[in-house]
């Protein structure tokens, strides 16, 4: 697990619109060379926030990141976010 590297990606995306656009334009390229597990990499590419949450991504960053890069329907995201992460309770998000 590389929680720190996942948090670092999310923070970079949140802080700067250009970085966010680069992430959105080609996520695989953006993540190339980063020390992530395959599960983390795929979850970031798919914006699979439930998996990222389960793996211990910082919830404050995960919230901002997901809302910023979400490509699908926003109302659906708002409706489903809590429901999808709830089964995982409160994973340890310390790095």
């Amino acid at each position: 697990m590389s929680k720190y590297q996942v948090d670092k990606v999310m923070r970079e995306v949140i802080l700067d619109m250009k970085t966010a656009n680069a992430f959105k334009a080609d996520t695989e390229k953006f993540l190339a060379g980063r020390d992530l597990t395959e599960e983390e990499r795929n979850a970031l590419i798919d914006i699979d926030y439930a998996t990222l949450y389960r793996l211990g991504a910082h919830p404050f960053l995960l919230n901002g990141f997901t809302r910023l890069v979400w490509k699908g329907d926003r109302a659906a995201l708002n409706a489903e976010y809590r429901k999808k992460i709830a089964p995982f309770g409160y994973p340890d998000f310390s790095t």
Binding site: K8, L15, H58, P59, F60, N63, Y81
Partner: protein, 285 residues
């Protein structure tokens, strides 16, 4: 010698200013806005020369690559919040000079009080600073000394450490060489959850909020320290440790109960607390 004239704690909720200004705010928001207007007048009435402002950074610049527990900002100027916060929340910016002499003196006095602050000569202040400052000193005419606390990235210092830091800060202020009136403004919150299963519009744990405000209001330091553990705060909401910036104030007040304190419970946002210790009015020795 400097004089501590006022100690104050309020929320830094970035949604609150917009809700006050918005159409048809709910009664609890109107009441909370009135509380904060009284807090503004209270601080102004104490005529501080400098404001020591205690707040967190939301992983905007202090991150897990280099995370200070407690840090004093000593650049000549402070400005914030971050551009992405302006975009997301539509909050007002804040700019202030920093009282670099006071910042340096605090850094020099701290070790003999048992505190080793980190320091920074290049930083921004995020919404945790700008929101309370815009409530309490919208004129932007007072120099500030920002003190950043880590309440976001575990492991964070325990409640007792926040209390002890506040108590040490009280002694540092008393020994400052400058003949200045010092006000302290601390920025925190009660139970709140962001990005977790309990996230909602109102407080994630009103019972925690009531209990903690009761304990703060009665100056029950030991019970606050006993109960405000990481696990208890996480159970109340995953960002609740911002409460610890209020525990720091209890130390700054040397364990005395505040002159005034209270909390509002809006349906549309987390609880809105206030607390103030009028040091100069004789409430405290």
């Amino acid at each position: 010698m400097a004089k501590l004239v006022e100690i104050m704690g309020i929320t830094h909720s970035p949604n609150f200013p917009g809700q006050i200004a918005g159409p048809d705010p709910e009664p609890a928001i109107v009441e909370a806005a009135r509380d904060y207007e009284l807090m503004r007048k209270r601080m102004a009435g104490c005529r501080p020369d400098v404001l020591v402002v205690i707040a967190s950074d939301h992983l905007n610049q202090f991150f897990m690559d280099n995370m200070p527990a407690f840090l004093i900002g000593k650049a000549p100027k402070a400005e914030g919040p971050f551009p992405h916060e302006l975009r997301t929340f539509g909050i007002a910016p804040y700019r202030a000079d920093i009282d670099v002499d006071v910042a340096r003196s605090l850094l020099q006095l701290a070790p003999k009080m048992g505190v080793d602050f980190s320091f920074s000569d290049e930083f921004r202040i995020d919404h945790a600073f700008t929101v309370p400052l815009n409530f309490i000193r919208p004129e932007m005419d007072l120099p500030i000394v920002p003190i950043f606390t880590n309440v976001m990235a575990p492991p964070i210092p325990p409640a007792r450490r926040f209390y002890e830091l506040g108590n040490a800060l009280r002694k540092m202020i008393a020994e400052l060489p400058a003949d200045k009136r010092v006000g302290v403004l601390s920025s925190g919150h009660l139970a709140i959850e962001i990005g977790g299963p309990k996230e909602g519009r109102s407080s994630s744990d009103p019972e925690f909020d009531r209990r903690m405000m009761h304990l703060v209001g009665s100056g029950d330091v030991e019970t606050v320290i006993e109960e405000a553990t990481w696990d208890r705060m996480m159970a109340s909401g995953n960002v609740t440790p911002g409460f610890l910036n209020f525990v720091l104030l209890m130390g700054l007040a040397d364990g005395k109960p505040p002159s005034v304190s209270g909390v509002r419970f809006p349906k549309s946002k987390g609880s809105v607390p206030y607390m103030a210790w009028d040091v100069e009015a004789g409430v405290l020795p």
